[in-house]
């Protein structure tokens, strides 16, 4: 494709995975204890999508990457100090109280509106990237809903590989059961791709890239207005995933025996 792609990456922010996550009720909706105080990172699933987008843009001349993110503005700014160094993009911030408990429909709606309002975005070249899942309580439907609102019908979830074929069509590998992939050929944009982990490592920080990005990121953050989210979901109860660690020190056991025991243990779950 001679003019490249317009790649829009949808990405939220989540508390740093090393933090202790403790659900509490905040009014009628749940929240994480001290979430605003904890360091945040770009949602790791969406971050993979960003790295793939940057890589694609670097290899398809004329491409451009936008990062659309709904999050509390000040937290987003802190996250950008790290993320902005990893890839060149233009930030489209939405100052909204989005978190793991937000209504996915509401989040999808404001993200779709923001994408609609991107000046110069060519829908015929649009690749809508995002995370297939989320490190917060992901509903797993946000990307699908955004695609629907933008009337993009070619949608792929759990994407691990994306290749542009010589004729401009797109070969997409979606993750399925058993460590295998479903390979599809799509004629071209517009397309929604919900990424799994992809194949790229996390890029190193490059402050030069960060400085260049910040020239547009800071004004965008300053201009963004606060948006509220409608909450149509009612939570009866929330809890962190069950985690159990049982450590034993066992010597002189073969790999086969260990594998068998692990298999038995997994089967109990």
């Amino acid at each position: 494709m001679s003019n490249g792609y317009h790649i829009v990456v949808c990405a939220g922010i989540v508390p740093d995975p090393l933090q202790t996550l403790e659900p509490v009720m905040s009014g009628s909706t749940p929240a994480l204890k001290n979430e605003m105080l904890l360091p945040a990172v770009l949602d790791p699933w969406a971050a993979h999508a960003l790295y793939e987008a940057a890589n694609l843009a670097a290899h398809a001349e004329g491409s451009k990457v936008w990062l659309v993110s709904a999050a509390p503005k000040s937290k987003l700014q802190q996250v950008m100090m790290n993320v902005a160094q990893k890839a060149a993009f233009e930030l489209v911030p939405i100052d909204a109280p989005a978190n793991g408990f937000a209504d996915a429909h509401s989040v999808a709606e404001i993200l779709a509106q923001a994408i609609h309002s991107i000046s110069g975005l060519d829908r015929s070249r649009l690749l809508l990237f995002g995370g297939w899942e989320s490190a917060s309580r992901g509903a797993g439907v946000t990307m699908q809903l955004i695609g629907e609102q933008l009337e993009i019908t070619d949608q792929f979830q759990g994407v691990d590989r994306f290749t542009v074929l010589p004729d401009g069509s797109l070969e997409i590998h979606e993750r399925i059961e058993g460590g295998r992939h479903l390979v599809s050929i799509c004629s071209g944009p517009p397309t929604v791709l919900g990424w799994a982990t992809g194949n790229l490592p996390e890029p190193r920080n490059n402050p030069q890239v960060g400085m260049a990005n910040m020239r547009t990121i800071m004004p965008a953050l300053q201009k963004t207005k606060s948006t509220s989210l409608t909450q149509n979901v009612r939570y009866l109860s929330v809890m962190p995933p069950r985690q159990q660690r049982q450590t034993r020190i066992v010597k002189d056991r073969s790999a086969e025996e260990i594998a068998a025991e692990l298999l038995e243990w997994i089967s109990q779950e």
Binding site: G27, M36, S74, K75, M214
Partner: protein, 737 residues
């Protein structure tokens, strides 16, 4: 599931965030620095931490794995920070604060990595500060990291000052390195022979060039200078054997030998020729003074990072100390709080944390002052050139002309109209700020590293036996040892005390110091929990003591405050450091409270964070005040001879029969008499009659007042300890250990 509406009393909820640190340390409006912090952190907690955890510190040699860190520094923008944008740098303007932040981030994991990154800047610093334009352009370009597609290896540099004993080390004037002219053809540039043996030279294992200090060994060269040597220069460029150091093993250190022929254009800052004599424009001491007064601040900040990095692993260790034991079941105090159920463990951690905060505030304040000073200094250098002023004495005289006005400026109320007139004078602004920098730099280097090393021992002890193993999370044992090096290199503690003993008596600084006393009283009035009032009293006590010592003599008639009397000047310098650090800490917390309120990301936890930080200020102020009171009391009374039970001594005492006679006139007087000589001539069993404190009554009254000012400081410590026992910490450290 808990309910958030049941809000507990506001207290610290989590470790201070990046956003809060940006406000506290004054770079919330500098996203370039915030980016740099993140990129430095990624290197520190990534490749550096992995190398340390993998045993990278267990060799003295410069290995491939260690060398790989240099590339990581390049890619993260760390190497380029020292440079201007046209040289490949990230941003224009002063770099002291940026370098301090990098040092902080790298030393959070390993001090050697921080040293390795900063030693390159140290090598370039003489060129940057005093080099000719040609030298600057040439070497900065060579040292700049490569850009994509560029086919070259960036040059690395080493700074070579220290020589084998008995030459330059603690005394930078005792140079053995020599320079002489070996060829000087008419109309051509002289060729120099440079001989130098270095000791403990960082980066020498891989340096492509060396900036080194040498003295003239030729009557055709005047004085000393710094010279740039390159590895390809004809002669001997022997990197020597690696130093078998027990600290900072991720940096390359060795004892090189140089015997090289170089053109005279390699003299840093250039030279003039007068009557057939080559006169370097800057002596080696002028160059290193310009360099060290900046780089020493970053060293101070390296120890700061160690202290603050110890907090999280210690809390985790304390809380989990008994988990796994049969008797420590979930829900029990032993399980939930572990060692944090014990007051002592918490109090000692609070002391450590408070020291770290004060140390950070002092170090970063010093770095910010140098960022402010740098452009002023350049303007003043232009003034010197315009007016044809050269030489240290002439420059000092030129500046002394406005010293009195600078003192006046300090004393003026903030709303006084004369301030703006005085501040419009460049020379005056420079003198005022320079006097502050002259104190903050040695104070940050001395106190942060010296007291920091002591507190790192405390940090290690708080981890029990674990602390001195390689498995200790946060590498605390390594950091303890590393802190000792930081207290030593780039000017050991004695050098910093010596410098302070001079700069702290500068009337311009003292005028500023008096202003700080007033400022702390004002702060105390509006923020009574900060300990600012106690600090103000301690400052007053210190000031009184300085004045007293400057005008007093010891029991043998010797002057007390004089250069050679380091038993007087050095402790007083130590005392000042405590005060300066505690003040900086309070100022930073006030900034956090004021500016943090405008930051939405801080809003939620700000009251609790400020409350905790305020309590730490109180704890630190009390500690500082105690140290100052102890030191000052020793100095004020310690040089008087104690009265003895001799004739003079007894004459000053009551006699039993006198008191009996007076008792009839003044009933009860017996109970007030302290030293009474009995009828048989015997006296109380002690060293001599109690000291008559005539002349020190002001001191005693200030001392007594200071004691009272400590009221509530232990309650602050209790509150801080309680907060530490309840705050959230992450599940694990964010770097391998």
């Amino acid at each position: 599931m808990a309910t958030a509406s049941a809000v507990e009393r506001e207290t610290l909820r989590a470790l201070p965030s990046d956003a809060s640190r940006q406000v506290q340390w004054g770079f919330a409006d500098r996203y370039d620095l915030q980016l740099l912090v993140q990129s430095s952190r990624a290197v520190a907690r990534g490749p550096v931490a992995r190398l340390v955890a993998g045993g990278g510190r267990n060799s003295h040699e410069w290995t491939e794995a260690k060398a790989a860190l240099l590339e990581a520094f390049d890619q993260a923008g760390i190497t380029a920070v020292f440079m201007e944008p046209e040289e490949g740098g990230l941003f224009a303007g002063p770099k002291n604060f940026a370098l301090a932040l990098i040092a902080f981030e790298l030393a959070w994991v390993d001090g050697g990595a921080a040293t390795a990154s900063l030693a390159g800047c140290l090598a370039l610093a003489p060129i940057h500060e005093r080099g000719t334009e040609e030298q600057k352009q040439h070497y900065m370009k060579l040292a700049a990291p490569t850009t994509p597609g560029e086919d070259r290896k960036p040059w690395r540099g080493a700074f070579c000052l220290t020589e084998p004993i008995p030459y330059v080390g603690v005394d930078t004037g005792m140079l053995n390195g020599k320079i002489r002219i070996v060829e000087w053809k008419t109309g051509e540039e002289p060729i120099l022979q440079v001989e130098k043996r270095g000791r403990f030279i960082t980066n020498i294992g891989f340096a492509n060039f060396v900036t080194t200090a040498v003295d003239s060994d030729d009557e055709r060269i005047k004085g000393s200078c710094m010279v740039i040597l390159e590895e390809a220069d004809p002669g001997i460029f022997d990197r020597g054997t690696p130093t078998r150091k027990m600290v900072h093993q991720l940096s390359s250190t060795g004892d090189p030998i140089f015997n090289l022929r170089v053109p005279a254009s390699r003299i840093v800052g250039g030279y003039d020729v007068k009557d057939g004599v080559l006169i370097p424009r800057y002596s080696h001491s002028e160059v290193i003074e310009a360099v060290f007064r900046r780089t020493r601040v970053t060293v101070g900040v390296m120890t700061t990072a160690k202290l603050l990095s110890a907090v999280e692993p210690i809390i985790r260790y304390q809380r989990g100390r008994f988990r796994g034991a049969d008797t420590a079941t979930p829900g029990s105090v032993r399980y939930e709080l572990g060692l944090q159920a014990r007051e002592d463990a918490l109090h000692r951690l609070v002391d450590l944390w408070a020291t770290g905060e004060a140390s950070a505030s002092l170090g970063f304040a010093a770095a910010r002052v140098f960022d402010e000073l740098d452009p002023l200094e350049k303007e003043v250098e232009k003034l010197y050139a315009e007016r044809g002023i050269s030489g240290g004495k002439a420059k000092a005289k030129f500046l002394r002309g406005v010293a009195d006005e600078a003192v006046t400026l300090m004393q003026l109320p903030r709303d006084d109209a004369r301030r703006s007139t005085l501040l419009s004078d460049l020379r005056l602004r420079f003198v005022a700020l320079d006097s502050l920098a002259d104190v903050l730099c040695p104070a940050a280097k001395l106190w942060n590293t010296g007291w920091g090393a002591q507190m790192m021992r405390e940090a290690v002890s708080l981890m029990g036996g674990y602390g001195i193993t390689e498995d200790c999370p946060g590498f605390l044992g390594n950091k303890w040892m590393d802190a000792q090096l930081e207290a030593t290199y780039e000017g050991p503690e004695a050098v910093q005390r010596r410098q302070l003993s001079v700069t702290m008596t500068n009337p311009v600084f003292l005028a500023q110091f008096r202003e700080w006393i007033r400022e702390m009283r004002e702060v105390a009035s509006e923020h009574p929990g900060t300990g600012a009032c106690a600090l103000a009293t301690a400052m007053k006590l210190w000031l009184w003591t300085l004045d007293h010592l400057q005008h007093s003599k010891d029991a043998d008639g010797g002057r007390l405050y004089q250069s050679a009397r380091q038993g007087v000047t050095f402790p007083l310098a130590d005392a000042l450091c405590w005060l300066v650090a505690a003040r900086c800490q309070i100022v930073d917390v006030l900034r956090l409270e004021k500016s943090g309120a405008n930051d939405a990301s801080l809003a939620e936890g700000l009251p609790g964070l400020v409350k905790f930080m305020t309590d730490l200020c109180n704890v630190q102020s009390a500690r500082a005040s105690g140290e100052v009171a102890r030191i000052c009391a020793e100095l004020v009374f310690g040089y008087d001879r104690h009265p003895a039970w001799d004739e003079d001594g007894k004459r000053a005492c009551w006699h039993e029969d006198e008191l009996d006679a007076l008792e009839n006139l003044m009933p009860g007087i017996n109970s007030y008499a302290i030293d009474v000589i009995a009828g048989d001539g015997s006296h109380p069993a002690k060293a001599g009659p109690c000291v008559n404190c005539a002349g020190a009554s002001r001191f005693l009254s200030l001392h007594a007042k200071l004691d009272g000012c400590l009221t509530g400081s232990r309650l602050a410590k209790d509150r801080a300890a309680d907060a530490v026992s309840k705050m959230m910490i992450p599940e694990a450290l964010d770097y391998p250990a």
